[in-house]
């Protein structure tokens, strides 16, 4: 948790009102300080072994914000900041008071509370920044259109989540969580839906074989395409084509 300004790449990020940033083990973070940058922060370090044997070890993988970038930091309201600080205070007191048989359970409970609050506050941020999100959705749709229109699928294969995240200058997790909050669907689901639309168009308007349609869409194996098509539409590509004849 931090407040102040952080220099990251060529830009400054302003967290004067307080921000919350998560990082997973192995994630590269940093930046260099400068004379006019002042930043105060609380850092909570947790070794992955601390979660071993607790359900939180599995649940923590559901919190996408552990792979967000610094640009996607959670900006906290005063009330939210106080909530987070109170949990930090509780953890600090527990660490300072004593380490006994119950310490581990108590701190794990507080961490789970912290992660759940962060999840809630991120959802709030997606809503309060809906205008940015709508613009993002529009840009994503434009990129998806261009991917098939420019035949990038033939050149680069299936469109990937990371391709769109990179072009939108976002982390894959943030893009997916943002899209899910706006549309109820993940980035991958959007891509799959679009693949099916393109496939239906090719199957109904061209004489391309199923294998050729799969190749044109970027699939390496036509069986993978047929499996996805059947999962999404409940019928095989050939059955779909026959329905048009």
């Amino acid at each position: 948790m931090l407040s102040g300004k952080i220099e990251y790449g060529q830009d400054y990020y302003d967290f004067d009102q307080g921000g919350l940033l998560f990082a997973a083990p192995g994630q590269i973070m940093g930046g260099k300080g400068s004379e006019d940058s002042a930043c105060s922060q609380f850092s909570l370090f947790i070794h992955p072994d601390f979660f071993l044997g607790y359900p939180l070890a599995k649940k923590i993988k559901q919190f996408g914000y552990f792979s967000y970038s610094i640009k996607e930091t959670l900006h906290l309201s005063e009330e939210e900041k106080n909530t987070i600080l109170s949990i930090f205070s509780f953890i600090e007191n527990e660490l300072n008071a004593r380490i006994d048989d119950f310490s581990h359970d108590v701190i794990i409970s507080q961490l789970e509370l912290l992660f759940n609050y962060a999840n809630r506050f991120y959802k709030r941020q997606f809503i309060t920044r809906k205008a940015i999100g709508s613009n993002l959705l529009e840009k994503f749709e434009t990129l998806l259109d261009a991917y098939f229109k420019d035949d990038l699928s033939v050149e680069f294969g299936l469109p990937s989540v990371s391709y769109f995240a990179d072009h939108l200058n976002l982390s894959s997790s943030y893009l997916t969580d943002m899209l899910r909050s706006l549309t109820g669907q993940s980035t991958q689901q959007h891509i799959h839906d679009r693949l099916i639309i393109e496939a239906k168009q090719m199957l109904s308007t061209t004489d391309l074989s199923v294998g050729e349609v799969a190749y044109a869409l970027g699939f390496e194996h036509s069986q993978s395409f047929s499996n996805l098509f059947k999962t999404k539409t409940k019928i095989s590509p050939l059955e779909f084509r026959r329905s048009f004849n």
Binding site: F45, I46, N96
Partner: protein, 33 residues
Amino acid sequence: MKKDELLPTKFTSLTDAHLFFDLPEPKHPLVSL
């Protein structure tokens, strides 16, 4: 390599991280604030 280029630092323990950030030794080996 440029002189002011930053090199990534990998922490294998909380103690490593505390040493790097010039913080006092952690009170718990697996969690610290």
